[in-house]
Symmetry: C2
Subunit: 158 residues, 2 copies
Amino acid sequence: MTEQRPPEPAPHRPLEPVEERLWRALAEIVIALPRALDDGFEADAGLSLSEYGVLAALRSAPDHSLRLTALAGATALSLSRVSRLVDAMARRDLCERGRCADDRRGSVAHLTPAGTSALRAAYPHHLARIREHVFDHLDPADLSTLAPALTRLAAALP
Amino acid sequence: MTEQRPPEPAPHRPLEPVEERLWRALAEIVIALPRALDDGFEADAGLSLSEYGVLAALRSAPDHSLRLTALAGATALSLSRVSRLVDAMARRDLCERGRCADDRRGSVAHLTPAGTSALRAAYPHHLARIREHVFDHLDPADLSTLAPALTRLAAALP
DNA sequence: GAAGATTGAGTTATCAATCTTA
DNA sequence: TAAGATTGATAACTCAATCTTC
């Protein structure tokens, strides 16, 4: 009975100190960063962060249009959230809804000129808050480690 | 007129490509990670992530008690959210409310034995999800860069 | 039956106003 | 006046059920 075991079953191994520190920081970031970024942005820009995300996703899509499912994927929002959000934004003429040509189940959101203007007007405010709350506190030398690591993390999320 | 200008006023300088990649990943993480961690955790553990955070904060506090403002700080939740959450948890006997001895404005939350049990029972589930959604996707060699960088980021949040 | 989308119902989170004590 | 906390109103968000089309 001298059979060798692996150190410990992976899912139950407690966090190492460095993992614990990372986890605490990440937990605080996911809770507090959206609040910090949103705080004042809506007042300055007339858009919530989610609305900004929708406009930005449409802006960079072919024909400035996306099906709702694709929009949900691009913004990481849930489909039902996107459906309601696009409704509200269409009422404010930031985008318009349409039916999908080749698949009649589909709904498409399309960027309007007013939406383009709103996005352009909001951009400097958005940028300023990202710098203020994120990049002003990061060492430029760390970016080349952080970017791929966080990208892998994000890619693994459902 | 050959006067030299700084490259550009900092708050308006657009994101560098590496910054853009980092920002996109971070944006996805703050939106999708809480969902991913919460998904199933409540069913497995009988606690929401916020409730888990409250219990964990109380557990590591002197006398297993914290004033609500301190609890809000420790969990990164808003004070009003904490007030309601502690109410709901007290109804389930996970913690109890008390008045502060030396400052009669203050409310204190105190961990109960049932709260301690719930925390202990939830811990392995919590740990498993953190490993599954975070550390399984990070290179251990990056941790020593990531941990301090994210800690600085978190520390700068309001 | 499965995919895309919508909707009703319920939960979670925030804001502003308020109350009490310092 | 300010700090700690609570609460009513409201917005954001999710879940499950549903409808339509594939």
